[in-house]
């Protein structure tokens, strides 16, 4: 490839999008190299197999190639790609017919007959900085998150890690807003159960 023709990073995002809309091959290759690794990491959060994640990234770019003409630039190119790869990853989970796992709903065990909390926790005193500095601790907690039942994992990733709103998540997962909220709460409690002993 003629290097002089290569799109370089000095190109503004607006110019890049213009080139993409024109069907410029170099600009397409540029966004594959520029954002592909990032999208692969995002896809791997949802899809446990490397092959599935790579498929999701490839599908994302093929979708982008045809959909770029409709891109209005209301978000950055990167967050647009981010959303597409999540959509495609979630679709793959659904098409794998993997059952959406029911989340624990035996809340009753946390409260007495009057709805009063049974157990009084002690406050976590371990500082977040200290915890984050400990590689093995961090890896352990990360594994606990990625090994949650699929639905719980998706809800935690979308909300607490990717930062989507509960409304957006309802759309992405095609479930009702109340289901997102109760599911998210239960997912967080599920994680609590898994990591609580690590935080003491």
């Amino acid at each position: 490839m003629d290097l002089s023709k290569r799109i370089n990073t000095d190109l503004s995002e607006d110019e890049l999008i213009v080139q993409l809309k024109k069907g410029n091959v170099d600009s397409f290759e540029f966004i594959v190299r520029e954002y592909g690794g990032y999208l692969l990491i995002i896809a791997k959060r949802y899809l446990t197999s490397e092959a599935d994640a790579q498929d999701a990234v490839q599908d994302t770019y093929l979708h982008v190639f045809s959909a770029i003409v409709t891109f209005e630039g209301r978000s950055s190119l990167k967050s647009w790609l981010h959303r597409i790869v999540i959509n495609i990853s979630l679709m793959k989970i659904r098409s794998n017919k993997r059952r959406l796992v029911e989340l624990i709903d035996d809340n009753a065990s946390f409260f007495d007959a009057n709805g009063k909390r049974i157990e009084t926790e002690t406050e976590i005193t371990l500082s977040l900085e200290k915890l984050m500095a400990d590689d093995s601790q961090r890896e352990y907690i990360k594994t606990q998150i990625t090994q949650l039942p699929q639905m719980a994992k998706n809800l935690l990733l979308l909300k607490d890690i990717e930062g989507y709103s509960t409304k957006e998540i309802a759309e992405l997962l095609d479930i009702s807003l109340p289901s997102v909220k109760t599911g998210l709460h239960r997912a967080r409690l599920l994680l609590k159960k898994k990591i609580e002993h690590q935080l003491r």
């Binding site: 692969l40 770019y61 009057n114 709805g115 157990e119 976590i124 977040l128 907690i141 607490d160 990591i195």
Partner: protein, 94 residues
Amino acid sequence: MNIEDKSSYPSQEHSISCESFDTFIVDYIDDNLQDNQKRIFIHHLNECPACRVYLKNYEYRIQLSKSIFANDTDKADIPNQLVDAILAAKKQTD
């Protein structure tokens, strides 16, 4: 209701159980509660030490989840073979 009139609340109608408190948490953290719901929530928080610690730890773990994944996209490399596959697939659609 006159907000200044402290005698009008807390009253029965402002009391919720810890279990109901739980159902408000997601919206509270997102600041999605309506004013009256928020008032009820905060009222319970002030009255109930167990829920206070519970909420604090709950928020801690959310922060923790966020931090755990915060930097994992820094070293984002795409395998060359995947780049080639994508470009080849695109060519087919041209």
